[in-house]
């Protein structure tokens, strides 16, 4: 008998109707863009405008091809700044949703100490329920604030393995 058979054989299902997740979330003040900004800032992130975004492009950055700005002078591990394009954002949590679509890196938002993420203003979901209902089939990561740890005496430290600086450029159409 294989382990698969042994495990499945030891389980007797009691068939029942699926239960739907229906969490009720507290409303937050402001429009979606305002909520996103507030929550992002609480977690150590910051919004930047187009002018500031462009200064980073000239700083020997490393960019994700999807942003249309590729500079591979430095590898993704050595770059100071990584630029990624988010599929969407979540207002109620300040999260950015990055999809690993063909031709993109997973590490561009993770390995460099500064992460810059571009997101379209029209792609901000209200909450997590809408976000999870609209995911693509690619590998996806929700980035919510900077990398952080509180393993040492509960003291919060940013940028332990991932980026300690998170800058977001909300692009208007």
């Amino acid at each position: 008998m294989t382990d698969r058979e042994a495990i499945l054989g030891a389980i007797q299902d009691r068939p029942s109707e699926p239960v739907r997740a229906n969490p009720a979330f507290n409303p937050q003040p402001g429009d979606l863009r305002e909520q996103f900004r507030t929550n992002l800032e609480k977690l150590g992130g910051r919004l930047i405008d187009q002018a500031e975004f462009e200064t980073h492009l000239t700083r020997g950055t490393w960019a994700d091809p999807a942003s249309g700005q590729v500079s591979t002078a430095k590898g993704v591990w050595e770059a100071e700044v990584g630029i990624s394009v988010a599929l969407a954002a979540v207002a109620s949590t300040g999260s950015l949703i990055l999809a690993n679509t063909p031709g993109t890196y997973r590490l561009s938002s993770l390995a460099p100490p500064t992460s810059i993420v571009i997101v379209d203003a029209s792609a901000i979901h209200a909450g997590l329920a809408e976000a999870f209902d609209n995911l693509p089939s690619d590998t996806v990561v929700f980035v919510t604030g900077t990398s952080r740890t509180a393993d040492i005496e509960g003291v919060m430290v940013r940028g332990v393995h991932g980026p300690g600086v998170l800058l977001v450029f909300v692009r208007d159409p």
Binding site: L110, D133, V143
Partner: protein
């Protein structure tokens, strides 16, 4: 038989007690604040989560087959392990195939790998598994074990960590948490680049889409599952959720209960190996682990399998706070460990853990999936008693006779003044350092009878 937890706690130093107690108390407060801010009614959310997990347990074989089929569709190779030995063998075979000459393995934090003592097996086979979560890394270089399922070094302070880092040559001695974290970042960066294999656990396996969900704050889990050419994930068979929509409930419940966050920094939904991407693993393997879980499923502690490993029950437990997770003698400590461990591994070996509780009920109050932990602890005490484990040396038989026979009881009370003059083995512990108190005042029964 006294409980191993009691024995351990009685020898614990004050520094450790202070570390554990302080950090636990902080997390209890931040949990309350986070859940209250997120949910209109956190209790309703917990009840909803409990129902979904009950559905999972009631339909587990169906959901496992669905998960397997969808993972395979995504290019994730699925393996089944009935026990720890099988899981270690499967993982080791995969490592030997990927890197026969040994080498570095980047490990993300995973209680399931702790449960099967994977690192020991990998090391014996010539591999260097490196724990990359900051806390787990400290545990590993110190040859220690995690004392909490979410915050593994809750029992250590910054001075102890600084000394370990200096000893291991990570940098100059510093008690500044930022500097210590950067020393670890620097050291572990190279390990991620060197690693031939990445190993992680799984927080939720989504049956409907075949995706593996991992939550974390540091980024080490993403690095471990992205940088090496092979990713192996180990998942307990109960950690399934039916669909992705369930995450909108479970992610904030887990983050709030575990660390007082709304969402952790990274919520990773892994769809499989790289797919015309510029990085990511070429192979992804999922190992489904039973190791006693089907036994629990078919027994009276079934509901413990709803657990999502947040550690809130540990933080709030007065016994855990006073004794630290190591006292429980297993990777799972606190109230969850006191039930899960004897349920999985047998009451004969771990039945005494159920005594490590004041039955105050705080654990059930905070559990995000409403596991009736105090009820289960009582049932376990009963099981342990029936297995003739909890013998405390007190002859309860005569007491039971007296308590159920009022005549004998009254007779006994009349004789008590005389009996208390007699030597008795039970009195010895008390009278070694103090005088036994004498009888004072009037007889209660006489007073009650005469009072009108």
């Amino acid at each position: 038989m006294s409980s191993r937890v009691e024995d351990y706690a009685s020898h614990l130093n004050q520094e450790t007690i202070d570390s554990v107690r302080g950090a636990s108390a902080l997390k209890v407060t931040s949990r309350q604040v986070a859940l209250k801010a997120v949910f209109v009614d956190a209790d309703e959310a917990r009840a909803n989560a409990a129902e979904i997990k009950n559905y999972v347990l009631d339909n587990l074989s169906k959901l496992l087959l669905e998960l397997e089929a969808n993972c395979e569709k995504n290019g994730i190779q699925v393996h089944w392990a009935k026990d720890a030995a099988a899981a270690n063998r499967i993982i080791l075979d995969l490592c030997r195939k990927a890197s026969p000459e040994g080498g570095t393995i980047a490990k993300a934090k995973s209680m399931a790998t702790e449960e099967i003592h994977l690192n020991k097996h990998l090391e014996e086979a010539g591999y260097q598994p490196v724990e990359t979560d900051l806390g787990e890394f400290v545990v590993q270089i110190d040859g220690d074990t995690p004392s909490h399922i979410v915050t593994p070094i809750i029992h250590k302070n910054r001075r102890q960590i600084a000394e370990s880092f200096k000893r291991e040559g990570l940098g100059e001695y510093s008690e500044v948490p930022e500097i210590l974290a950067m020393q670890a970042r620097e050291y572990l960066r190279q390990k991620f680049k060197d690693a031939k294999i990445g190993i992680s656990g799984v927080n939720f396996g989504i049956a409907a889409t075949g995706r593996l969900v991992l939550v974390e704050n540091e980024g080490n889990s993403r690095l471990s599952t992205t940088a090496p050419p092979i990713h192996i994930a180990l998942m307990g068979i109960e950690k399934i959720l039916p669909e992705e929509r369930d995450l909108a409930l479970f992610i904030p419940l887990l983050a709030g209960s575990a660390t007082g966050q709304t969402v952790t920094s990274y919520t990773h939904l892994i769809s499989g190996p790289r797919n015309n991407n510029l990085d990511g693993p070429e192979e992804v393997h999922l190992v489904l682990l039973d190791n006693g879980r089907t036994r629990v499923l078919n027994g009276r502690y079934r509901e413990i399998l709803r657990c999502i490993r947040c550690g809130a029950c540990m933080n709030v437990c007065p016994v855990y706070r006073q004794s630290s997770g190591h006292a429980y003698g297993h990777v799972y400590g606190g109230p969850i460990g006191a039930v899960l461990v004897p349920a999985m591994e047998g009451v004969e070996k771990f039945g005494d853990l159920a005594k490590a509780s004041s039955l105050c009920g705080a654990c059930e109050e905070v559990c995000p999936v409403k596991i009736p932990l105090p009820d289960m602890l009582l049932k376990l005490r009963d099981d342990a008693y029936r297995a003739k484990l909890n013998k405390d040396g007190i002859p309860w038989g005569p007491f039971a006779f007296g308590a159920t026979h009022p005549g004998a009881w009254r007779m006994g009370l009349k004789m008590l003044p005389m009996a208390s003059k007699l030597p008795h083995p039970l009195k010895k512990g008390w009278t070694e350092s103090r005088e036994a108190p004498g009888r004072e005042g009037r007889d209660f029964r006489r007073w009650w009878h005469d009072r009108s």
